[in-house]
């Protein structure tokens, strides 16, 4: 595992354990995605409001802890601040508040909202003849929401080639409405689609760098809920909102260093 990504997972586990909050498997599925995004977009951790920055929107807002830990490791703020995750008075809620956390562009949580706002941001950059781009991550469960597909139709109609939608295909909805062919659906909605191993930072970065010139770019990232810890991958539903006991925490930390995840 990429050491940077391993470090983020370690932070996630420690903070989830300490706080009792987490969505750990959903966080673990987007770690490489977050690393690749921030390695690709223009941003400045020392000046989060820099006017020339690209925009990243985590539409699947329940992976906020992964986002916080990534931003902390990039230097947006000290990881020590995130330890208060979910506590009364904390700036770091289980769903992020853009007015409280540097680097958070949109307050998300309810699914199917971030992508629509991202479409508006991409349109704003077109209107202003700006070269800035927008990258958003949606979850496969989130794609149950009709508003996701409304937003994609509008983005296609407006020819927003400055918008990249990363589809975190962590197969989270096998028990519900699992969309089995996301790439095909995204193509049908006008996107140019790349499919990558969502746990390969290199594959993700290559896809993010190769943007189409005339279409919305979609990257279907095939991921696993809980990737990084075998225990969670094997029983992702049980771990969806659960936090580890002392014994489980020790085992999960050990699993981060195992070859097979």
């Amino acid at each position: 595992m990429n050491p940077f990504c391993r470090g983020i997972r370690e932070d996630i586990l420690k903070i989830a354990k300490a706080s009792g909050h987490g969505h750990i498997p959903s966080c673990f599925s987007v770690v490489e995605i977050l690393c690749a995004v921030y390695a690709t977009i223009r941003h400045d951790p020392k000046d989060p409001a820099w006017e020339g920055r690209d925009i990243f929107v985590l539409s699947k807002g329940h992976a906020s802890l992964a986002h916080y830990c990534t931003l902390a490791r990039l230097g947006y703020f000290d990881i020590g601040r995130v330890v208060s995750f979910g506590a009364f008075g904390s700036d770091f809620g289980c769903h992020a508040d853009r007015l409280k956390v540097p680097g958070i562009e949109v307050s998300t949580g309810s699914l199917g909202h971030g992508i629509g706002i991202g479409v508006g941001m991409a349109l704003a950059f077109k209107i202003k003849h700006s070269g800035r781009r927008v990258v958003t991550v949606i979850g496969d469960g989130e794609a149950n929401e009709g508003s996701v597909w409304e937003a994609l139709m509008v983005a296609d109609n407006l020819k927003l080639d400055n918008l990249t939608v990363i589809y975190d295909n962590n197969m989270s909805h096998g028990r519900g409405l699992q969309i089995m062919n996301p790439a095909e659906k995204l193509r049908a909605f006008g996107c140019r689609v790349d499919e990558v191993d969502g746990h390969s930072v290199k594959e993700l970065q290559d896809a993010l760098a190769a943007r189409p010139e005339t279409a919305v770019h979609a990257v279907v990232a095939h991921t696993k809920k809980g990737y990084g810890c075998r225990t969670m991958v094997c029983d992702a539903y049980a771990w969806h909102r659960r936090c580890p006991t002392d014994e489980e925490f020790t085992r999960l930390m050990e699993e981060l260093d195992e070859e097979t995840v």
Partner: protein, 288 residues
């Protein structure tokens, strides 16, 4: 009123490059001059109200001023969560301007009637709610509020009144202060019918074009009178009730769908909000 909306938007856009119109496939032909003048600042997004609001929030986040326009119930009721989260919670300002107030589309039936919008939108933190009754009120209040950085709702009507009220945002208009024991309070286009109903009755008359923030000071002036709220929607009564310990009566909508079709006047007559019915109600109130 929609024509005045068009003229006002066109005039403002000339000097304010931040204005961007996002339409839900209504009023598009009416705005052909705007589209011709500012093609990159007009988008007929489509019949997808959730997306209109999301896109508006995104534009707002980058310093533009979205004006989101479509039919009242579809954007306020279907997309309530987008208004709540994309605009209000995220503090992304913008203007929602709707057509089809209350029973303007009486003939279309209950799917196109809109009477909850004012009531539900006033519940959202940071939201401003405006029900212009006349074309002048629309223009004055739109010019005053469109660039305030807050989510602001303007409810247009095809049946405006023609009474000159000298509108100021957030201020009620006291049209009659007769020192009477009964005070009629109303809002929006219904003022025309209400004024006709009570012009020679011994009542006070207070009129609102701004539902949120409600003018508590004006209401408080009449707190010792019996207040009769006459309104063809929900929301005004509840807003007035923010002032504690009032004696209030609501003359408005029944707890049922008004599916009688016809014209606006037919619906108003059916539910007792035509001038004769309002007058009869007030006369009985004055007898007690």
């Amino acid at each position: 009123m929609r024509k005045r909306f068009r003229d006002t938007a066109l005039a403002l856009a000339k000097d304010d490059e931040r204005i961007v119109l996002l339409f839900g496939d209504v009023s598009v032909y009416l705005f052909k001059d705007f589209i011709e003048a500012y093609p990159d600042r007009f988008y007929n997004i489509g019949i997808c109200e959730n997306a209109i609001l999301g896109v508006g929030a995104g534009l707002s986040s980058q310093g533009l001023i979205p004006v989101m326009h479509t039919i009242t119930p579809f954007i306020t009721e279907r997309s309530y969560e987008q208004i709540k989260l994309d605009l209000c919670y995220n503090r992304f300002g913008g203007n929602i301007v709707t057509c089809g107030a209350s029973f303007d589309y009486a003939w279309d039936g209950a799917t196109h009637h809109a009477y909850t919008d004012l009531a539900i939108l006033r519940l959202l933190p940071g939201m401003e709610v405006i029900q212009p009754g006349s074309v002048k009120e629309l223009e004055v209040l739109f010019r005053s509020q469109y660039a305030n950085g807050r989510p602001t709702y303007f409810r247009l009507s095809d049946h405006p009144h023609t009474i000159d009220t000298d509108p100021v945002f957030g201020k009620a208009v006291v049209l009659k202060d007769a020192g009477a024991g009964v005070t009629v309070m109303t809002a929006g286009p219904l003022l025309g019918d209400v004024l006709e109903a009570c012009k020679d009755l011994p009542v006070n008359l207070v009129y609102f074009h701004t539902i949120k923030p409600i003018d508590r000071e004006a209401i408080s002036r009449f707190r010792d009178t019996e207040i009769v709220v006459v309104h063809d929607a929900f929301g005004l009564f509840e807003a007035i009730a923010e002032v504690p310990q009032l004696r209030m009566t609501y003359r408005g909508l029944p707890d049922e769908f008004c599916s009688c079709y016809g014209k606006l006047t037919d619906v108003r007559r059916t539910i007792g909000l035509d001038p004769a019915s309002i007058r009869e109600f007030l006369e009985k109130k004055l007898e007690h």
